[in-house]
């Protein structure tokens, strides 16, 4: 017998609760495959109404640098989990650094991601900002690369120091990727 209720069953979207949940994700990698996890989680968190901050540092800087953001690469070198798309065959590590391998692997990964309807990095960051996410750049990485704000995406809210970041993310849950 199905249960029957008088008051309608309505999902609780938590609109009345002020949870103040906050998430800060440190993106430190610039390989194409490692650029995605932070963005996927940020996008999911925003969709759940969580205040979300992304802090780009070290190699992760390539995701927000105008000159580099369209050109992230994926390499099978050093990645023993890299398999061929058919036959589940592992790519031998001796072959991984061969000329052309990186280009092939990058193209393959981009296609797999596009097939899932997942956007490329710059487009994905557009969506995250549109959904209310905040982008921050690391001061030391900017200095190392001799970058100023004009070299970065226009929606990066600031180049901030590590201590600024710590202060800003008081009470937040932190993820380092």
């Amino acid at each position: 017998m199905p249960a029957k209720n008088n008051a309608p069953i309505v999902p609780n979207f938590g609109d009345d609760e002020e949870t103040g949940r906050k998430l800060a994700i440190i993106c430190s990698k610039g390989n194409l495959d490692m650029a995605y996890p932070g963005l996927i989680l940020a996008n999911a968190a925003l969709g759940e109404g969580v205040e979300t901050h992304l802090f780009f540092t070290f190699w992760g800087f390539d995701m927000i640098a105008k000159k580099r953001m369209n050109d992230l690469k994926f390499s099978p070198t050093g990645n023993t989990a890299m398999h061929m798309p058919i036959g589940d065959v592992r790519v031998p590590q001796a072959l991984a650094p061969m000329p052309g391998m990186q280009a092939v692997a990058t193209k393959m990964l981009k296609k797999q991601i596009a097939d899932l309807g997942v956007p490329e990095i710059p487009d994905f960051l557009d969506q995250i900002v549109g959904a209310g996410g905040h982008l921050w750049a690391c001061r030391m990485s900017a200095d190392m690369n001799k970058y100023t704000e004009t070299d970065l995406r226009d929606d990066v809210e600031g180049i901030i120091s590590a201590s600024d970041f710590i202060e800003m993310t008081d009470g937040a849950q932190l993820l380092f990727i």
Binding site: P8, N43, G47, Q127, G130, A131
Partner: protein
Amino acid sequence: MPVTTLLDREIHVDDEGFLTVYDEWDEALGAELAKQIGIEMTDEHWSLIRFLREDFKEKGETATTRRVQAAGGVPAKRQFELFPKKPAKKMAYIAGLPKPHGCV
């Protein structure tokens, strides 16, 4: 599976309250669902809900905010304005569809 009553109709829902039977929905019910979660529907809201309905019929799964942007042509920013805080889930609820399963 629970049954709940809205507009004097018996509606099949999951434990959270999302409709489970596609054909039990019509726009009158959609308006009632919107009222339940405090959304005031405008033409713009409705065009998104109609997109979700059509897209589900075609694809067999609920569109995510990404898909609503890419295939439905409404930017994520606008979706958050129309259906505050949790647009994907709220749109799915009003459209009488299951919660989206896609990660992006």
